[in-house]
Symmetry: C3
Subunit: 153 residues, 3 copies
């Protein structure tokens, strides 16, 4: 089972590959490593999920935002590589959660993205190293921002 | 047109290569990849641009701080590599903006650095992957901190 | 003098290799590069050092938390590689300090980890590129989170 087949089997719809919010590229490839820019929770209709977790959003809404961010990352990867089947593995994610000062469940939030990647790339290749951290504000008020390093073929 | 010629043509003055603020090296090279430490907005006179964007500093002042941070990064790269002409491309930047809770234009701030890199390295090689995020505080109260990964020859 | 001998000479006790707090691996190796997940200040008894620096914790307590985080990172590296002697050098650290809005000595805090790495790997190989930043909240309320890139053999 390859990632593209898995995506179809799961019935997942990718949002349109996100447009940069500034002077950057969504992804840069050097050798067999793809560096993905920080992505936000882009929905199929082009809107972003906004709000601070612990305030406007609860844990489950944060997880859904992280999952949606993961779908946007998949859209970028497919757009750049032609097919998700060229992804060998998730190497590392840095996940930022727009958080109130007393919200401290960032790993649980970012799991929403990691579970998606495990579903698409498999429980070994889809789970990489990761840091999950809080921050007091993110671009445009988005709930989650995730950047990633992927090994590709 | 190479980066050193471009820098001269633009009439840009680099600050002195920054001294570490702690136990770290400004840059470490592994193979053809240069990992730059987080840099701050170091001015030619050695002072740093401080303040929180959305409070002491506005958007344009934040952009100027990001540009100045980029100049400090160029100073580090030239000091370590001998010449900016050894830089192949910007691979990825992580830009942090010292932000009030309600300031959310981090990408626009970090564009101040990315525009500089586009001017010096060209619109393709100078623009890499990027994450721009907010934070409630940075070392010494600096306005912006940017780390980077560069491909070199 | 190799790292394992140095660790023994220094009389340092590593905590148990930390268990992931979410869907991630503590470390992923690609070629000669090891990517370590964000680690927290795990003590030998399995407890984590929590608190915000500038509020519940002072500078020296923050430094101790960073040092303890470094010990947890060494435990992960030894567990994954079999021996710390396979570490060639510290390439880059990203250190996050759970900080009040007016605490700005993040580099001094993260020095607690960097000094440990200098002691174990030597003053050249143990000191890499680094970014130290503040944040308003971290997972589970931990005081410090550090991720790292290491060159290995």
């Amino acid at each position: 089972m390859n990632p593209e087949e898995q995506l179809e089997k799961l019935g997942l719809e990718l949002p349109p590959a996100p447009k940069p919010m500034g002077l950057y590229k969504p992804v840069v490839v050097v050798g067999n490593i793809a560096y993905l820019s920080g992505h936000g929770p882009l929905k199929p209709d082009g809107a972003l999920i906004c709000g601070r977790v612990g305030e406007q959003l609860g844990l489950e809404e944060g997880q859904a935002a992280a999952r949606q961010t993961g779908l946007a990352m998949l859209a970028t990867l497919r757009g750049a590589l032609g097919s998700l089947d060229r992804v060998v593995r998730v190497v590392k994610l840095l996940g930022l959660v727009n958080s109130t000062d007393d919200f401290a469940q960032q790993p649980q939030v970012i799991n929403g993205c990691s579970q998606l990647f495990a579903d698409v790339f498999g429980p070994d290749n889809g789970i990489g190293a990761r840091s999950a951290i809080g921050t007091n504000t993110l671009p445009g008020g988005i709930a989650v921002e995730i950047e990633g390093i992927f090994e590709i073929r």
